[in-house]
């Protein structure tokens, strides 16, 4: 199989994570924000798998499975919330839902 230095895999994870973060901060559309979250979660999972692969152990993959589970749960609830927001505010602008202002 491949013999890439481990840090390059981790760097890929870091870049993907940073891209997800950028998307999260920039986009105002709730759907895009959720997508950005997915990118970040995926990047975190990638980092675990890289580490697990480095030691030849299955634990990294197991944690990835857990992250996957969590992402699925989060997306289902998050998308239901998106529908609610759209129904209530007639827009997907996340700044419209800022009623919890201090």
């Amino acid at each position: 199989m491949a013999s890439v230095p481990m840090h390059q895999g981790l760097l890929l994870a870091g870049i993907l994570f940073a891209l997800g973060l950028t998307g999260l901060l920039v986009r105002r559309n709730v759907v895009f924000i959720l997508m950005s979250l997915e990118i970040m979660l995926n990047a975190a999972g990638l980092a675990f798998v890289v580490a697990g692969s480095r030691w030849g152990q299955p634990d990294g993959q197991i944690v990835f499975i857990f992250i996957l589970t969590m992402a699925a749960a989060e997306v289902s609830v998050g998308l239901a919330l998106v529908l609610q927001i759209y129904r209530r505010f007639k827009t997907l602008d996340v700044d419209a839902a800022s009623e919890m202002r201090g």
């Binding site: 199989m1 491949a2 013999s3 890439v4 992402a71 699925a72 609610q84």
Partner: protein, 168 residues
Amino acid sequence: MDAVFYIAAIVAIVSTVLAITRLNAVHALLYLIVSLLSVAVVFYVMGAPFVAALEVIVYAGAIMVLFVFVVMMLNLGKAATEMERQWQKPGMWAGPSILAAILIGEVAYLLSNPSTLAFGAAVVEPKLVAIQLFGPYLIGVELASMLLLGALVGAYHLGRRTQGKTEK
């Protein structure tokens, strides 16, 4: 095989960049699926075939399909794209990009003394993963199942149409 990793990595980064910059949600989703598939390739190269399969089936398959469904339900048309265009002013990218750049810089610095240790030397078989998952991590599996149940109930509750009427 090294080349496969690098190509897949570049594809992942590019498609992710495109995914977060698209104005149309469906276009963005398609790029995101490409990104996830290329990460799946990376997993496979790293010797984690089981996770690569999961990535394709659950992430690129199920979750993204969910997104597509919702986008279709919302029925966003040209007006939404126009709205996105208004929202996406070039100046808005500056702050988040700087933050992200610093973060990547820090990560790169952390990894700056490259270890000679390579990964992906051996394939971790799905069987091994399964033994571990249902052995020492059993409690985690149980918790994950509870989390999914909670998400199921929550999504069902939030998704009901009648709720808007009763609450207001």
